[in-house]
């Protein structure tokens, strides 16, 4: 069959018409006509993107039974989608069309009309050359499973489960410890927002337990998770009984594995683990919520306490965001229980990013807590007395003694985050937290479609922000994984030709999405089209030329470039 290529030049009002010689373009392009193999129809139009222009194009495609379409107009950024949609209304496959930009690339930047015209002709010829090497591509539809796996039953995982579970959607909530709730169940109070206690948390925990669409697995870990958005196969294993396994399928996975505190023993200058009555913030929270008391090892209430902020901040290279606030909370606990106590908070910066935080700080200060900004700090013991030796901002060295010392160790990603990352093929960033798909625009997604990260597993976060994250993942999954609605994966993906692949597996190592798997029996690599994003890494790295990116094949690019530089 012969190619019948329609070439349509847009005047774009005066924008293109005044700056290039369209008549000349049409004449030269028409001269490329080589019937019967290659028939070229070249025409112009005043404004192809207008409704009238689009109807004209659709009519031309059908009437002339075009096999290929080339449009010479503006930037693909403006109207690629517009013209692909025109094709979709006709019998012409939208991947057999090519938009050539003669406005931004020629008319608008080249003052000399002849020169602009020449360049436009060259570009259009390149477009014609490319389009004949293009192949029709069709969208595929995949069935999807609406159910979701949530890993980690802290406040983030709990809220996510509640947002997601429903009549048509089951949630599997997996927790490695024996109970759900995470760190927040260890606190007596949740601050800075006054008047809250753990009732709301308990209500949420209960709601999870009573929800018949949420299946909770405690003392359980994920052993295997393979698949892609809409279709992951999951195997769970019981931590104490390796034999006890559960397997099921889900459409999405939410990682909510939370945080741990850095071990202050690793930073010897704080004396933790060596000197008596030095505690971490979490130890104080725990004993306080269990016994309602904060006491020295001797069983006596402390007469003085020093609260040291930012323990491990420098080492970690980031601020943990919640410790300033919870240290105020701990100071308030102490003041409530031991009104006569002398409290000094040693801080580096006060990080108060929420709109209510500053008030809470002022309130704490007004309760009689002293605040000292330090440059350097160390804890020393001398004759059973503990001293905090510090350098102030003006360089002066001072020291005070305190009976109790409370440290705010940096928040770090939960132990085992690395294993989870490997299991799901997602990345950790330079701070060790899970890496988001985009720092600004896509913070709860990851580089793998259908795998999400929420709560303090992504960044140190307070409870409010962890909950917002959980609701955000609700927003993502409820809009993108709808029961009964099929998923349409990207069509311009890579493919590997069986015949050329030598099985070297270079491509597996460069694919950031884990889209390529190796078929041991046939000794070839295969692209999973549901996962591939068409980035082309494998294409560039394959030593055998076996990998191709659909719609960006070497032949297509070569033919285009060949004409463009002729």
């Amino acid at each position: 069959m012969s190619d019948k290529i329609g070439v349509y030049v847009c005047e774009c009002g005066p924008n293109i018409a005044d700056k290039v010689d369209i008549k000349k373009i049409l004449a030269e392009i028409s001269a490329l006509n080589e019937p019967p193999e290659k028939i070229i129809i070249a025409k112009k139009h005043k404004l192809l993107c207008s409704k009238e222009g689009q109807d004209f194009l659709a009519d031309e495609i059908t009437k002339n039974e075009l096999t290929h379409l080339v449009i010479a107009a503006c930037s693909p950024r403006d109207h690629d989608i517009t013209f692909m949609n025109v094709c979709k209304k006709t019998d012409l496959n939208p991947y057999l069309y090519k938009l050539v930009n003669i406005r931004e690339h020629c008319a608008w930047i080249i003052p000399d009309k002849d020169e602009a015209t020449e360049k436009a002709i060259q570009y259009i010829r390149a477009g014609i050359s490319r389009v004949t090497y293009q192949a029709p591509l069709t969208e595929k539809e995949l069935d999807s499973i609406p159910d979701v796996l949530v890993i980690g039953a802290g406040i983030a995982g709990i809220e996510a489960s509640l947002s997601l579970a429903g009549e048509n959607r089951k949630v599997y909530l997996v927790e490695k410890t024996s109970s759900i709730g995470g760190k927040v169940t260890r606190f007596e109070k949740i601050l800075p927002h006054q008047g809250t206690n753990l009732d709301i948390i308990q209500e949420k925990i209960q709601a999870v337990q009573e929800n018949e669409n949420i299946k909770v697995f405690t003392e359980t870990e994920v052993e295997k998770a393979i698949g892609f958005f809409g279709n992951f196969e999951i195997i769970l294993k019981n931590i104490h009984n390796e034999e006890q396994k559960n397997d099921f399928k889900v459409g999405a996975v939410v990682v909510a594995t939370g945080f741990d505190l850095t071990d202050p023993e690793k930073i010897p200058r704080y004396g933790y683990g060596k000197i008596e009555d030095i505690y971490t913030s979490m130890e104080i929270e725990e004993s306080n919520s269990k016994t309602g008391k904060i006491l020295l090892k001797s069983g006596k209430p402390p007469k003085s306490a020093a609260l040291i902020h930012c323990v491990g901040r420098e080492e970690k290279g980031y601020c943990s965001r919640v410790c300033c606030n919870y240290m105020f909370k701990i100071a308030q606990y102490l003041k409530e229980k031991i009104p006569a106590i002398k409290i000094t908070e040693f801080y580096q910066d006060l990080c108060l990013p929420n709109k209510a935080d500053q008030e809470f700080f002022i309130d704490t200060k007004n309760k009689g807590v002293d605040f000292i900004r330090f440059k350097d700090i160390a804890v020393r013991q001398k004759d059973k007395e503990k001293f905090i030796e510090y350098t102030k901002m003006d360089g002066k060295k001072e020291k005070i003694s305190a009976e109790m010392i409370i440290l705010a160790p940096a928040i770090e990603p939960a132990e085992g985050s690395k294993d989870i990352a490997e299991l799901l093929n997602i990345s950790l960033d330079e701070t060790g937290f899970f890496q988001e798909a985009h720092q600004k625009l896509n913070p709860v997604a990851t580089s793998i479609d259908g795998v999400y990260i929420i709560g303090s597993a992504q960044n140190p976060k307070d409870i409010s922000d962890s909950i917002i994250d959980a609701q955000a993942v609700g927003g993502k999954i409820l809009t993108q994984l709808i029961p009964g609605v099929k998923l349409v994966p990207e069509v311009t993906v890579s493919e590997i030709s069986d015949a050329f692949c030598t099985g070297c597996q270079t491509c597996l190592s460069v694919c950031s999405y884990g889209a390529i798997y190796f078929d041991e029996d046939r000794n070839i690599s295969i692209v999973n089209e549901a996962i591939c994003r068409g980035c082309g890494n494998c294409v560039a790295s394959c030593p055998s030329g076996a990998a191709h990116a659909k719609h960006f094949t070497s032949a297509q690019i070569y033919q285009e470039v060949l004409e463009a530089i002729r």
Partner: protein
């Protein structure tokens, strides 16, 4: 009666994110934006901290998607006038101002600006440049279609007869008899994403804004640095021929008065310092700060990087800083870490001003029937446990309308609001 259409108020990053997610499900979204363009404040910045990604490149694809989405009806130059009803069944009246230029016929060629005889201050450019009565706020505005300011257009305000723009337009896109419209829509839920404003520097005379020409707000500095801004990215002074040789950035202006930390100004001040070091490598840059607020995991690293670029950081209580001088040079009096009074001089001063509730917050809260908090922002219902709910079921908050936050936080909240809408309406 359960209506599943949604109204989103404000087309900043938060409103855009919410609209796109909802539109993906086939729901109809009315996106109501007061300005003539989408993108909110973020499009004013050249780059965003801390990855220093080009701001336009980052959000233009999303703005474009809004324009191309079949399910989003974008109403620019529009505000909400009346809201009645309740969750699942709100009736909303929208006041849509005439644009005088057709969003369908205009191709954004810009031929109509030149002939317009009227010049006026361009507020989008922080009044650092002028625009015509027919204008787009800046190159790259989306939708890339001008609007006519009816108060200043000679034909429309009746001062003279003029038809210059209409004649210049080859596409017949301008219609001077366009009229304001009242549109009534029915929706099941509302997302309020009306953003923030910056506190007025006139309230802080000690820093000399308005008195000395070379004192700038951070937003002005953003536009000065922007390649699509009034100077095309050249750092120039209001008074003076040469670029500044020394620049002082003063953080936390207005924090004490507002009673909260704005949570992004430390970071954007670092960004400004980094910008300036980049364009004016030999300039001396001073940064007056109080405690650093750097709550993101990548933020402290950025602080470290900027420090290494050679910016002078001075910890000093902002309340005791004073800016004095004249048209040409400025002197900054401050207290150093030893609580001693010191002075230094600078050619340019930049004030990092507190973020505050958007100008329309009070009126919107009244007509939506939702509460404001003690700081003036919209109040979220269960602040103790993180929430995008307002005091009224079916109305949700997203972005800086709820309180100061960075882009990441605004986006997350928008997605959370969508999560809420989806669980209510599906």
């Amino acid at each position: 009666m359960n209506n599943s259409d949604i109204l989103v108020i404000g087309a900043g990053v938060a409103g855009i994110e919410a609209s796109l997610l909802l539109a993906d499900t086939g729901k109809k979204v009315y996106l109501v934006e007061k300005a003539s363009l989408t993108g909110g404040n973020v499009i004013k910045y050249e780059d965003v901290f801390s990855n220093m990604e080009c701001s336009t490149c980052m959000i233009a694809p999303k703005q474009q998607e809004v324009l191309q989405s079949e399910n989003i009806e974008l109403l620019t130059l529009s505000t909400v006038e009346k809201v009645q009803g309740e969750i699942g069944d709100f009736t909303v009246t929208i006041n849509k101002k005439a644009r005088y230029v057709s969003l369908i016929d205009c191709i954004g060629c810009g031929m109509c600006y030149e002939p317009c005889p009227v010049s006026l201050k361009n507020e989008f450019e922080q009044n650092l440049s002028e625009k015509k009565a027919i204008y787009v706020p800046c190159p790259g505005s989306l939708p890339n279609v001008p609007a006519i300011d009816p108060e200043h257009c000679l034909q429309l305000n009746g001062k003279k007869t003029c038809n210059a723009c209409v004649e210049a337009c080859a596409f017949g896109a301008i219609n001077l008899s366009d009229k304001d419209e009242k549109i009534e829509i029915k929706v099941g839920a509302i997302i309020v994403a009306s953003g923030f404003d910056i506190i007025d520097p006139a309230g802080f005379p000690q820093y000399g804004y308005g008195k000395y020409p070379n004192v700038y707000t951070a937003m002005e500095a953003e536009r000065l640095y922007a390649s699509n801004g009034p100077t095309e990215g050249e750092i120039t002074l209001r008074k003076g021929d040469a670029p500044p040789k020394s620049i002082a950035i003063i953080q936390c202006v207005g924090r004490e008065q507002q009673g909260y930390c704005s949570s992004v100004c430390c970071m954007y001040s670092l960004k400004l310092a980094h910008y300036l070091k980049h364009k004016l490598p030999d300039a001396k840059i001073y940064n007056f700060h109080s405690d650093w607020c750097m709550p993101g995991k990548y933020y402290q690293k950025f602080h470290q990087d900027v420090k290494e670029e050679g910016v002078d950081f001075i910890y000093s209580p902002v309340a005791k800083i004073k800016v004095e001088g004249n048209d040409k040079s400025l002197s900054i009096e401050y207290y150093n870490g030893k609580n001693e009074k010191e002075k230094l001089s600078a050619d340019m001063v930049i004030l990092s001003l507190a973020m505050m509730q958007g100008k329309d917050t009070a009126s919107l809260s009244k007509l939506l029937g939702i509460e404001q908090d003690t700081k003036g922002f919209f109040m979220n219902q269960a602040i103790q446990l993180g929430s995008v709910d307002t005091s009224k079921p079916g109305i949700f908050l997203a972005g800086c309308a709820e309180g100061p936050k960075d882009i990441q936080g605004s986006i997350t909240q928008a997605e959370a609001a969508v999560g809420k809408v989806m669980s209510y309406l599906s």
